[in-house]
Symmetry: C2
Subunit: 350 residues, 2 copies
């Protein structure tokens, strides 16, 4: 069983994905894992594990090569997997299951899932529908409602829409992850600024009431052969609000966490909510992280990270083992039988 | 401006898509249009317009060639477009805008949209999110609710779920188009049979009350440079319920319709509902058909066809002109600026 990690992408989270993949390469250091980089032009490159350092990507050595780096190896994706480019190479690059580690656009919006599904490639990551539903915060709210999981009240805001709100509030662009464009807003002047920023990124945003000192917990997990495996629960360190820089640091994490001090019933409620979200369909095959708020012992879904930073490795006691088991359980979608019965009928009619 | 029609796919609607493309090739007979077939193994082939006949696909001549057919031409999709396979061909096949005419799975579930978006190819068709939302009947209900458009009441049914219903009802698998697996159910015995059939196709279904002689109308349209263009409105001929065979015949239509006799206010309401659905986001660039029910002059959305059969050409007075205008208006998504600011920061920290 050989794993491949696909990272990068044409996205605001391009560099976050690089950091995330470098972190994973440290976690997988004794494993035979392939690293495939998708650059900002959406060309794929095979990366030697020894080149998994930030400068290699930042300086473009992945496509130019250089002293000590070796020749760049570009790949293309096609039926069944990735293939090395070049006149004489028709061989599929030998990987059994890929990990979709492209964060944000390209990775979490359904594109990578679609490429893998279309080309019949096994992968760890959310399927198309689950990607789309967890990428858009409004659809995530609907998904949670369908699953019977609570979320914080919210309102949808469109460009130029007029509405009055109670302050303080949090404004979030509907479709970006990693806290990009998210800000706490204390008055109408700050709202104007926050809306300008948000509407640069998306045409729709949501507002939620800002609750100071709200308890937040992160729980990751996956379903393997019908059975759920959960990570430890972490209470993330935060200042006022997790901003991009802070969250970003999370992507480079490889150490283990101190499990949060949470009562058993709240833990159980979080796991139940996770289970309900995951089972809505489309998460099978993914290792996801759900971020929850807890208010008066009640659990609220904040967001779903369908491709969590560094795969939330730091939340698990036995991450590599979980990933391998999950990879082993992945199956390709059943082939749909194609028939020509109705064409025959139509041809008879003519 | 050269158009390309992509059809076929790994789907229950594979042959429906072939018929649909053949119909379009008749509509486009005096235009320079390229036809690209995606076979059941998801390999692409360039099809000479003179070979756009059902037997060419049914008998596999598209990949073997044969007397009078010429040599098969296989293609692959990559950055910027489709490319002819072969050692010496690195040239992109010259098409400006593709029409996504893959119905059902692959075409309407977000996969083709993802491929086009990922590889930076212009296309007519729903974007990823809109594909996913119109492919799943439960998500379509939510979308309509968000847009302020009414739909028929419904209940979600899962495999082995116990529930009692009022008969007659209609059972629909959540995720298939073209009426596949949809049946009228008059009693609990018929429900068992219908559920067996539906759960062969999907793990979730919905039930709606069956309303005999309900008025149904179809309206297609698109938005070009911010302005909506609507087709004529048709009242489809139906027996008890549109079954697959009947609907199938629709895919081969090229003649013009007799516009339905509908009062102006109902027409206006349908157009308003269409406008609201289309504007939820993600339909920009698509020509879609909405199927409505009208009950006591009130308009209810039945379903969204994001890649309608033969592009609903028969509903338009000036179809080719509309398609060309739409194609001209398509823009590639803005490139997201990729930065390495945070990598720099992290590298400083280390």
């Amino acid at each position: 069983m050989r794993l491949g990690v696909v990272f990068g992408g044409q996205s605001y989270e391009h560099e976050v994905s690089i950091i995330s993949a470098i972190a994973l390469s440290k976690v997988f250091k004794s494993e035979d894992v392939a690293y495939i980089f998708c650059d900002k032009d959406r060309k794929f490159y095979l990366i030697d594990p020894k080149n998994m350092v930030a400068s290699y990507f930042k300086d473009g050595a992945y496509k130019t090569g250089g002293i000590g780096f070796g020749k760049p190896k570009d790949l293309h994706i096609s039926n069944g997997g990735f293939y090395l480019n070049g006149m004489f190479s028709k061989d599929k690059f030998p990987v059994d299951v890929y990990i979709n580690l492209i964060h944000g656009c390209d990775g979490e919006d359904g594109k990578m899932a679609s490429l893998f599904d279309f080309f019949g490639i096994k992968y760890i990551g959310p399927r198309i529908e689950a990607s789309v539903l967890s990428y858009n915060k409004i659809l995530t709210k609907n998904l949670a409602a369908l699953a019977g999981v609570k979320t914080i009240n919210y309102a949808i805001v469109k460009k130029n829409s007029l509405a009055t709100f109670k302050y303080p509030l949090i404004l979030k662009p509907a479709r970006l992850g990693s806290s990009i464009g998210i800000g706490i807003v204390n008055n109408s002047h700050e709202l104007d600024i926050a809306m300008d920023k948000a509407f640069d990124l998306d045409d729709t945003a949501i507002v939620e009431p800002y609750v100071a000192n709200i308890k937040e917990y992160n729980l990751a997990g996956c379903k393997i052969d019908g059975k759920f495996i959960y990570s430890n629960i972490e209470e993330p360190v935060k200042k006022d609000y997790l901003d991009f820089d802070q969250k970003y640091m999370d992507f480079s994490r490889t150490g283990k966490i101190e499990p949060a001090a949470v009562g058993q019933s709240v833990q159980d409620n979080m796991k139940e909510a996770f289970h309900k979200i995951y089972n809505t369909g489309g998460f099978d095959g993914a290792l996801i992280r759900c971020d929850f708020f807890v208010i008066n012992n009640e659990v609220y879904l904040n967001e779903i990270n369908p491709c969590p930073g560094s795969m939330a490795n730091y939340l698990f006691d036995n991450f590599t083992e979980v990933i391998k088991k999950l990879a082993n359980s992945i199956e390709l979608p059943k082939e749909i039988p194609v028939s020509y019965d109705l064409i025959d009928k139509l041809m008879d009619i003519k």
